[in-house]
């Protein structure tokens, strides 16, 4: 049996959803037989590969880089999963939306910095005016809310997707869970 090609990524999020993914513990061993992780923070690959079966996207869209990446993933993936509250609702990252970008950067890089009080201009991708959930930019196939969604919910969803079903996770997780 050929393995399904799984990509994961985190945009503007805290990596908590990835931690929860790893929390699947021994269930990961089962999954490993059916899944090949082809892209993401868990593997060493720089560019987004073609022909992804399932993409798990953690985090909200905050920067130009986030937007580019999520669009690329969408284009290359059969099924795209919005994983966790940041991706689904934009959650805590969106709390900066009440302030202009300039003020946010000044606060982070100048007022509260002890050294090198300057706003980086290269290296760090430019922030978009607001942080927004990913489905406001691209079509999403499956939503798994939760902060983070528990390992059980992630496993349940993946197991269903592996069987070719559409998962309904609402009994296992919710906004803020």
């Amino acid at each position: 049996m050929t393995k399904l090609r799984l990509a994961t990524t985190w945009l503007d999020g805290c990596s908590g959803c990835h931690m929860s993914f790893l929390d699947m513990d021994e269930l990961l061993v089962d999954l490993a037989g059916q899944i090949e992780v082809v892209y993401g923070p868990l593997v060493d690959r720089k560019d987004v590969p073609e022909e992804i079966d399932i993409a798990l996207v953690e985090g909200a869209v905050s920067s130009e880089h986030d937007l580019e990446l999520v669009r690329k993933l969408r284009a290359n993936s059969r099924i795209l999963v919005s994983l966790g509250d940041c991706a689904v609702t934009s959650n805590v990252p969106a709390m900066r939306n009440h302030f202009p970008v300039k003020q946010v950067l000044e606060c982070g890089y100048q007022q509260n910095a002890d050294r090198n009080q300057s706003i980086p201009s290269d290296v760090i991708p430019a922030l978009l005016p607001q942080t927004r959930p990913i489905h406001e930019y691209i079509p999403v196939d499956v939503f798994i809310p939760g902060c983070p969604p528990c390992a059980k919910a992630i496993h349940f969803a993946l197991a269903a997707l592996l069987k070719g079903e559409t998962p309904d996770v609402h009994e296992l997780t919710r906004f803020g869970a």
Binding site: S82, D85, V88, T89, S90, N91, V92, A94, M95, N97, H98, Q130, R132, P133, H135, E136, V140, F143, I144, P145, C147, D168, V169, H170, E171, R174, F175, G176
Partner: protein
Amino acid sequence: MTPSSRVKTLTIDGRPVSARSGETILKVARENNIFIPTLCHMDGLSPVGACRLCLVEIKGSSKLVPACITSIFEGMEVSTKSEQLDKYRKMILALLFSERNHVCSVCVSNGHCELQTLAQTLGLEHVHVPYLYPVMDVDASHERFVSDHSRCVLCTRCVRVCEEIEGAHTWDIMGRGAEAKIISDLNQPWGFSESCTSCGKCVHVCPTGALFEAGKSTAEMTKRQFLPYLSLMRGEKND
């Protein structure tokens, strides 16, 4: 002519049930363990029919009616579930989530919030209308309580409990449409309100984390139910 009977029979979702005349669809449904989502409704307070989550279908009428405020009649045929109702309820919830800043993960009421629970129960796993992200105030001027307008759904339970039960009428609504907000007295900071008795009833009827006890952190705010006991103590009749 025989005097008209006070007991009426009707069907809810095809189930025959009996009820006293004058009772609302919601009351009869709940007695029979039939779930109808509600948010602005609270037993013990006057109904307002504002959130529209409890809308149900009545055979023979093209209009949806709010179950919390609509009286039953003999032979009524009520449907509490349909594809259309499900869609509308989810959209109404989605509109509520989009309207202000409901960041469940860091909310004092996380895990004890009626809005959050409704989203889960009704299977709303994402909000498909754009979030509006308005800038809203937090009023921490009261020594025991805090109000965070980002989490307010304008159900007006606080307004009603304060007026109808406590008799203080500290809370009211100011402004129209999306600008509507709850205010204490004539829009003074809560801590400076002269009418507030600090009874805390508003805090405990608030369905979300909009009104909470000072010092409570994420997920620590649980609400007490007191209106049912109050009604019992006052010996209010059940109809």
